[in-house]
Symmetry: C2
Subunit: 107 residues, 2 copies
């Protein structure tokens, strides 16, 4: 991935993918970070630089929306176009994994 242009090619990076999945329900940045950490049993940790950079990009692209004001927190939620892209990307990942399963037999 810087790979490429990711979103311009309608593909999600792993980090974007994790974050979008979290935002199927409303959640604020720091909560996302914690959620990913817990769900992955400490294996995946997204630092603040990555987190807020990616949130900004997703918002700019209209894949997530900022919900109306709370003061300290910024609560986001996935948008319809975000859902559509996530769906598409999950399918892509499933296909890759299926191909992977066939490869496993050769190993």
């Amino acid at each position: 991935m810087p790979r490429g242009k990711s979103l311009d090619e309608n593909q999600l990076t792993d980090s974007m993918y994790y974050i979008l999945v979290c935002l199927l329900e409303p959640m604020h940045g720091y909560g996302i970070k914690q959620r990913i950490y817990e769900e992955s049993e400490g294996k995946i940790e997204i630092g603040p630089a990555s987190l807020y950079t990616i949130l900004k990009k997703l918002q700019t692209r209209g894949l997530i929306t900022l919900l109306p004001d709370e003061e300290r927190r910024k609560t986001y939620q996935i948008s319809e176009s975000g859902k559509a892209l996530l769906k598409q990307d999950i399918k892509r990942r499933i296909q890759l994994a299926e191909a992977g399963k066939r490869v496993l037999e050769k190993l």
Copy 2:
């Protein structure tokens, strides 16, 4: 993924993944490029810059080995450690996809 550090974290980028899968059988650079293009029905195209950059990196890390001389071509093959890493990465991708399947139900 310019992403992160990929190999330092024992993760394969998509491009590395495609290339390593090809190299389960001996193949030279240009052949890999064609193979990926054909297998993906034209969807995935790896240009020369990416191709040779990644091959060099994989070789440096010992994940692939250069087979003895042909003149024009450089024929590579996956190494044992390359196989191990590929196996591990396929499992990671399968897990991600499984999680994705569960998410799909919410969409």
